[in-house]
Symmetry: C2
Subunit: 261 residues, 2 copies
């Protein structure tokens, strides 16, 4: 009967191990049941932020000063992950295809307009220190960053820039930066690889207080009055693209970090 | 010894069950190791489609006739899942907040313009049978659907519609549908809950061949000439919103299924 006892012991042990295994299948059940709920909540939160971003990028929102707190992670992950770069690459490719398809006049009057910040130059080194839009914009702090002249190029924008120059477009840079930042902006642009623009237009003393839409429209009106044809326009803000003397085609780069009216 | 045999049998059975459980824990390991790679590819494919959708919704793309084949699942899941509805709800909420913030004149000249298809009425019952944009648009087939007059309301658009009416806006419906579909369109709109619009503008015989941007701009120009102030405009196509006599604020509803120039 000793052998029998040993077998009984072994059997019970095996049953115990077996049921532990069974339990380890059973135990996670409630977790598995809860997991989709967590997933569902995560999904809902993520969808709230994608809806918010859709509203941002389609210009559906009223002027806003900071990103929603609950979308802080979403925005950071979008920016530092592959999404932001892929979206920008796509814009530049579309713009490049369009640029190639245009029949340019031989009078040198075909223009491509570029905005500067978050279009040609990236201020992510600054915004990474300021919660990617979670903090209210501080112009004094931002000016210190601008004055360093260290903003890197957005790679695919540089490629587009060189393409449109090569195709024979005249390049106008139309930026909300102040005239007093002209030299540091020129230096920064050149160090980042941008050369041979036709004109760099900054906000003069008369332009402060105007919305970007108004300021940029006025300057585009002047271009048109001078006989230029605005064939393409690249900007990360709708205020770069909308208003009067709009371009034949506009290219909206992503920017979920800040809004300029 | 018979009892012993039964115990041995039971023990082996339990071991078998136990090790099946163990195996079912061990077996998925290689799958788990492969899973992140699949995830990464899935992530990249999904990001390609979100980049494509960003380009669609920001009007960065050249005129397109069908959605990319590789984004067929992405678009279907967006439409039938919670994303599409959440995005539309958000647009309607933003538009409603704006509408409430407007100081209306007491001359009854403040206008809200609505597009019809994919703005007030949903043609998803039609597009669900046609791959959600994967098939080239067939006007004859689509007309058959229109003539049924069965398109349901987009819920949050109906809510916005009623809100702006209640606030005192005059509602203009400006649609690319043909004048010959006037009566079925009126009937469909009314059955779906839309009433009391000021004017329903459809494409007349002179308007065929015009782009939607041109046709809709011309009709908005007429409104402005008649002294109306276009305060708000809701549409799922940029051709509903851009051009001349643009609204003070425009509200772009999502539409990754089709493009109208």
């Amino acid at each position: 009967m000793r052998i029998l006892r040993i077998f009984v012991f072994l059997m019970l042990l095996t049953v115990a191990i077996g049921s532990e295994n069974l339990n380890s299948h059973v135990f996670p059940r409630p977790l598995i049941i809860e997991y989709p709920e967590n997933n569902e909540n995560q999904l809902k939160d993520a969808l709230k932020c994608t809806s918010w971003r859709f509203a941002v990028e389609t210009n559906n929102l009223s002027p806003w000063k900071t990103i929603p707190e609950e979308c802080a992670d979403y925005v950071r992950e979008y920016i530092v992950g592959p999404g932001y770069k892929m979206d920008i690459d796509r814009v530049s490719n579309e713009a490049g295809e369009y640029a190639k398809s245009v029949d340019l006049g031989d009078d040198g009057k075909d223009v491509w307009v570029f905005d500067v910040d978050e279009t040609l130059l990236s201020n992510l080194p600054y915004y990474s220190d300021h919660g990617y839009g979670l903090e209210v914009f501080e112009s004094v702090e931002f000016d210190k960053w601008v004055e360093k002249g260290m903003a890197p190029a957005l790679g695919s924008s540089l490629k587009l820039y060189q393409e449109v120059l090569h195709l024979g477009f005249k390049v106008f840079l139309l930026t909300g930066r102040s005239e007093r930042h002209r030299s540091v902006t020129v230096e920064n642009l050149m160090n980042a690889g941008f050369h041979n623009w036709h004109k760099l237009v900054l906000r003069g003393s008369d332009d402060h207080g105007k919305t970007a839409t108004t300021f940029k429209s006025e300057r585009r009106n002047e271009m048109v009055e001078e006989g230029f044809r605005i064939v393409g326009n690249s900007g990360d803000q709708w205020s770069d693209l909308l208003g009067s003397s709009m371009s034949n085609r506009s290219f909206k780069l992503p920017n979920p970090i800040y809004y300029i009216p």
